[in-house]
Symmetry: C2
Subunit: 329 residues, 2 copies
């Protein structure tokens, strides 16, 4: 097993205060590794970075035939719970004849400041629609209804989740070594980092194929790229980086330091994991790799905001910040 590589440093004054290590893999459409850092065989939980895989059965089954690209972007989203997200997911629930109580993701206070403050000022509580995964769960509910399956769609042996597992194992080209329960109560299947990058290359090369799965994969990636603000939210790395790359690359964060990317123009897929789970470091590392691959402008403000994220003091001065190590530059 290859050790993790120093990926991102935190500087303060003229010293290094912290270091984040990680593994990363870039795959081509054949699933071959074209670049790697650390251990491609590292086993990880993709967490939300594989939501586009979890949405494949929704389209392949025909359940999502009438869904808009906005809805598909939300099915792949870890959104901020802003009005733009919850309004659309609530409308989707209404289309299904369902209510917030039919979700199994659990309530979450929105990351979006305006939405959060509205709830607090109303002495209210967040609903399940505010959960960052509610779009994915709306997709699960859509598939469950189509299949005529029961309401506990999050359980690992429910037809929705067995379909997700099958899709996951097929696009990673691996037998998953196991699963954990995600923050939203859905099972999350483990894979090697290589397998996850391979699956992203499957999405990136899908536009060149005409089988049902490839058509679904291409549509999902294009929906993500078309609506970056629905995939995450203002100020978030996914949204900022997809906009900065002119909607030509799909990127997706996952909890505990995971990031994936789909580059259709190069038919390349990327997967990375920060071993300590830090999101600040996975944001910086994916930006650095995208710059290295020539698809992200190093001088774009969004690149600087995430790849060299400042850690200002409470008076707004840049007294510390992130910087990728030479391994990623």
């Amino acid at each position: 097993m290859t050790a993790a590589i120093d990926f991102v440093e935190v500087w303060r004054g003229d010293m290094v205060e912290c270091v984040h290590q990680g593994h990363a893999v870039v795959c081509d459409e054949r699933g071959e590794i074209v670049a790697q850092w650390g251990d491609p065989a590292a086993i990880i939980f993709p967490r939300s970075s594989c939501k586009m895989i979890q949405a494949l059965p929704l389209l392949e089954s025909g359940a999502g035939a009438d869904l808009t690209d906005e809805q598909l972007a939300l099915a792949c989203a870890s959104h901020n719970g802003a009005d733009i997200h919850t309004r659309r997911v609530n409308a989707w629930l209404g289309d299904l004849g369902l209510t917030d109580d039919d979700f199994r993701c659990g309530p979450q206070m929105p990351d979006d400041r305006a939405a959060r403050e509205d709830i607090i000022r109303a002495y209210g509580r967040p609903c399940q629609v505010h959960n960052n995964c509610s779009g994915k769960h709306a997709g699960f509910l859509t598939l469950a209804k189509h299949l005529g399956a029961g309401p506990e769609y999050h359980e690992v042996d429910h037809p929705v989740q067995t379909a997700c597992k099958a899709a996951f194992e097929e696009v990673t080209e691996e037998t998953s070594p196991g699963f954990g329960i995600d923050g939203c109560s859905a099972p999350n299947f483990a894979s090697s980092l290589h397998g996850l990058a391979r699956s992203m290359a499957f999405f990136a090369s899908a536009h060149g194929r005409s089988d049902i799965r490839s058509i679904a994969a291409d549509k999902l990636a294009r929906s993500m790229m078309s609506y970056p603000e629905l995939v995450a939210g203002e100020g978030r790395a996914c949204t900022d980086l997809m906009r900065a790359m002119d909607h030509k690359v799909a990127v997706k964060t996952g909890a505990e330091g995971v990031f994936t990317a789909i580059i259709p123009d190069k038919k390349l897929g990327i997967a990375l994991k920060i071993t300590d789970g830090a999101t600040r470091a996975s944001n910086a590392a994916i930006a650095a790799i995208l710059v290295k691959l020539g698809v992200l402008d190093p001088d774009h403000p969004a690149t600087k905001a995430h790849m060299f994220a400042p850690l200002p003091n409470r008076r707004g001065m840049d007294v510390a910040g992130l910087r990728p190590t030479s391994a990623l530059l």
Copy 2:
């Protein structure tokens, strides 16, 4: 240089999702190392874990002669900005004839939920008194007034900060290799982890000496132990662990994965650093070391809450969590 040691794992399902590495040192009153993990020579920023050192000049100078133990606990605190904290710090400011505008720490939204929601419901903004370091800064202002020094007390060449630097270098028994600017705009001087542990052992053994510095150090440590809720806040590791140890050990967190501890009954000092900066891991690691040293009950609910902190899903189920590695058990 010795590599950092695996300190804390994040488990999910039956797999390890993340690992946090670190260094730690336990020193006796002679400054000798009695236990170590990783590299005692690692250079770190202590951040808020050294606030009791920054408070030494306040007492040694006589500036703080009339301060209560509650005020001294606040001078060493990274508090939650709860009413119990801000009410006392505002009264202290009043005693000095000063206002919130005299602070240089910058405003910070309180971590305390009730205080935060009060501000949001009033469509207000946090003040500088809400900054987690406002007690330390009230101490700085008290010393600045006593010295007849200028209002920019946070600047590195101000008499307040030169006094803090001198105290820091003397109790760590090192020449600091440099400083960074902390989140509260005050300089934070670097030291080796061994130096920081040595300084904590100085505090832990102070009750056996009668020099001015030792009397000050003992009074500060006893103030922290007497008022755990003023040093941090409800649910925070510092508060919970000091209560769990029956007010017989002083512990202090620092940003970016630092923790220190002062054990007067054993005349031992501890310092640890998580190299990636994760607070969840420094909380777990300090609890594990305190258990190992026999001063924290492994079965106390506070120990379990921090040493084996659960990472529940949004429905409250323990689907993941922290656990120290065998190195710390």
